[in-house]
């Protein structure tokens, strides 16, 4: 049995809700518990920026139990960006802090009449005045609130920056000086509630059924990670060559995902900076170009080694034994106003590298800190900038529209100024601050052809023309445009077939098979989506997930931590239920799932004329339908079938 905290910001009422054990057995915690409560409690027609929307901060079932790579927290809400289910995932220290306050989740409804923050410790929860930090950026606010509230325990703080205060629909929620739960527009929901921050200083113990059994699994996993060590001879400049080799492979064979840990340890996600360009994974020039355009003279400047040259120490999220993060010195960058920044992720480097044809790495560092402080999603912001540049290059936007900004490809100085305008909602920035779909609606003039999104959300920096299953998740997931749900590349290293009876076994296969809407590909995407829900319900890390089930023993940890004795197949049914609940949330709120289908460019319509993805197209609608069919949902509409809902115990009317 656990509990969640409910805070009504309109009335100031704060109360606990006890959650029965049976609920955890149905949906785990984390995103599953969030889906259970929000499906039940957000009324049909609720304005995402109104008092009826609920914003939840949830921690994972495994967080704090002694398991590893399970320290991720999530926000859950009705997304103002897509109109449907919204969630976003983040690391740092907030996930255990939620549980150390005695809760599995903290949920807000209503709207405060002035800026407030929530403070929670062992004695209870209080709403406090946040007027003195309203208008400040996320990092400065975190420092102030941490100092004000640090008595015994250093508090963990989740906070919004200026972008969310100004209700940018591509704003997120930050913690640990620049980590960000960026997607779905959760920041705008928090801003609309005038909730500036959540400050957590509890010191309660976190329950675990069998700590010794959990530790035994952790030791085994940690030993494997410890042994992974990249020879010093391997340089970042070699990685693009590897990408070029992969781009030309006719056949695909699964690799041992544990090898990824040595790459993460050395570079973090920026290991992909050049490699993903040459293999065709990075979308180039707003999805209309390739490595032929963003060639070596460009990508050599964002080389992985150049990124970590600025790194002066590694950064680990809570319970992480890999340490893909880092803290970088940027005191000599730009105007010198920022001293340091979290190492930019691959997503940020790609969104402000190849996507906008920029080769100025210092500009990427600067933009990274600018966005982290303002609390704006770097994926969506990069998409919005690329969209604006393409509109400008095609005469849809003029100098008059841009306030004199010369929005040509790769003009890093103009890009920085544009981002500042977006954060402050000034001029052209105001048009773009809510993402490309709404931006195109405002600009008109057929600009929607350059507005690359799925269901209103800009996609991650992974090309669905390289990995069609990525495209299925971009289009068919209840939160469209997300690169973190599944992909063939993820499936092949996660190796679900080693534990799950129905997950297709992968050996060597022709790459072309990925482009066919088959039962096998659909079962892979369904298995990936179910498993990812389990990961998100446990507080797990995507990067640990793709190291493989034979190494990162999620099923073993879940049984040890809870005392359950479930098989992997039984857990996968929990994952299926969680995903179905998220989909039913969308159905309840009037979303027609097919409308989330990704932009035609993302499916290769028209196909690229050069580069490694030349001629590639994805039968996305047929693949979405196969995916839905194997979920037990109507294959034409994506609506879960009554018999599926009955089997899973999900009420069709949205009562949980």
């Amino acid at each position: 049995m656990g509990k969640v905290l409910w805070v009504d910001l309109s009335t100031g009422e704060i109360k606990d809700e006890i959650i029965a054990d049976s609920v955890y057995e149905q949906v785990l915690a984390g995103v599953g518990l969030g889906a259970y409560l929000l499906y039940r409690d957000i009324p049909v027609g609720a304005d995402p920026l109104g008092p009826d929307n609920i914003l939840g901060f949830v921690s994972g079932l495994l967080t704090g139990t002694g398991s590893l790579m399970t320290g991720r927290w999530m926000i859950v809400c009705k997304s103002p960006l897509t109109g449907g289910w919204g969630d976003a995932n983040c690391g740092g220290t907030l996930a255990p802090a939620i549980k150390q306050c005695g809760y599995d989740g903290i949920f807000f409804k209503g709207i405060a009449n002035k800026p407030v923050y929530l403070y929670v410790d062992n004695k209870g929860a209080q709403l406090r005045d946040a007027s003195h930090v309203w208008g400040k950026d996320a990092v400065d606010t975190e420092e102030i609130l941490e100092k004000e509230n640090w008595t015994k325990k250093k508090p963990s703080v989740a906070v919004i920056g200026q972008a969310a205060e100004k209700l940018s629909l591509i704003s997120g929620i930050c913690n640990d000086r620049g980590r960000i739960a960026a997607r779905s527009g959760g920041g705008a929901v928090m801003g609309s509630k005038r909730l500036k921050a959540v400050v957590l200083a509890g010191i309660k113990p976190i329950k675990c059924n069998d700590p010794n059994a959990v530790k035994a699994i952790s030791k085994e996993y940690a030993d494997k990670v410890r042994k992974q060590d990249l020879p010093a001879i391997v340089k970042g400049s070699m990685l693009p060559l590897g990408g070029a080799v992969l781009a030309h492979q006719k056949n695909v064979a699964p690799l041992d995902g544990m090898m990824l840990s040595m790459l993460f340890k050395k570079w973090g996600t920026v290991m992909s900076n050049g490699m993903a360009v040459t293999m065709g994974d990075t979308p180039i020039k707003n999805w209309s170009g390739s490595v032929v355009d963003y060639n070596r003279s460009y990508y050599k400047n964002i080389n992985s080694d150049l990124v970590i040259k600025r790194e002066y120490r590694k950064y680990h999220c809570y319970s992480c034994v890999v340490g893909c993060g880092g803290v970088c010195d940027i005191s000599d960058v730009g105007d010198g106003k920022f001293k340091h920044t979290h190492k930019p992720e691959y997503e940020t480097c790609a969104a402000f590298g190849g996507l906008v044809m920029n080769r100025d790495l210092d500009a990427i560092f600067y933009i990274n800190e600018l966005l982290n402080r303002a609390g704006m999603d770097s994926i969506s912001a990069g998409g919005a900038v690329a969209f604006a540049i393409e509109c400008y290059e095609n005469g849809i936007l003029t100098d008059e529209d841009t306030g004199g900004l010369k929005l040509s490809w790769g003009n890093s100085a103009s890009i920085i100024q544009l981002i500042e305008k977006m954060i402050n909602r000034e001029g052209i920035g105001d048009l773009l601050a809510d993402g490309v779909k709404i931006g195109a609606d405002r600009i008109g003039k057929l600009s929607e052809r350059f507005a690359v999104h799925a269901g209103g959300q800009e996609p991650g920096m992974h090309d669905s023309r390289l990995d069609p299953i990525m495209g299925v998740h971009y289009s068919a997931d209840p939160t469209p445009g997300r690169h973190t749900i599944g992909a063939s590349q993820y499936y092949n290293t996660t190796r679900l077939w080693e534990k799950v009876s129905w997950a297709p076994v992968v050996t060597k296969y022709p790459k072309n098979e990925e482009y066919i809407a088959s039962d096998t590909e659909a079962l892979k995407s369904v298995a990936s989506a179910c498993y990812k829900q389990l990961v998100d319900g446990s507080g797990g890390c995507l990067f640990a997930m793709i190291m493989g089930v034979q190494h990162w023993n999620l099923f073993g940890w879940l049984n040890a931590a809870t005392g359950w004795n479930k098989t992997p197949d039984e857990y996968m049914e929990i994952g299926r239920r969680m995903q179905t609940l998220r989909q039913m949330f969308n159905v309840k709120h009037g979303i027609e799932p097919l409308t989330f289908k990704m932009h035609t460019l993302m499916a290769g319509d028209p196909p690229l004329k050069e580069g490694p993805l030349k001629g590639r197209s994805v039968p996305i609608e047929a693949m979405m339908m196969q995916h839905w069919k194997h979920f037990g949902w109507d294959e034409k509409t994506g609506v879960p079938l009554p018999e599926t809902l009955g089997k899973m115990g999900i009420d069709q009317t949205g009562k949980g």
């Binding site: 002694g66 398991s67 590893l68 220290t93 255990p96 802090a97 150390q100 640090w150 015994k152 325990k153 250093k154 010191i203 959990v214 530790k215 952790s218 030791k219 940690a222 990670v225 410890r226 010093a232 340890k265 050395k266 790194e311 002066y312 120490r313 590694k314 680990h316 999220c317 809570y318 319970s319 992480c320 034994v321 340490g323 880092g326």
Partner: protein, 71 residues
């Protein structure tokens, strides 16, 4: 004044930070820079340590590489 002492086995520690978060007094911090190729930092008692030697950090460590004692 801190009354407790924590010894970390840095050969085994993997800088996961579980001990730091577990400490009810935030007496530990990730600041110990040991010469290592990845520039990782490891836990150590902080300058504002109020360590009582309670051992909560040691119990929390999944790799069992901390020991805590009263001075």
């Amino acid at each position: 004044m801190a009354e407790g002492r924590v010894v970390v086995n840095y050969a085994q520690c993997m800088a996961c930070g579980i001990c730091v978060q577990a400490c009810p007094f935030s007496s530990l911090e990730m600041s110990r820079a040991i010469n290592n190729k990845y520039k990782k930092v490891f836990p150590e008692l902080s300058s504002r340590s109020a360590c009582s030697g309670c051992g909560i950090c040691a119990t929390a460590c999944p790799l069992e590489c901390l020991t805590a004692s009263k001075e």
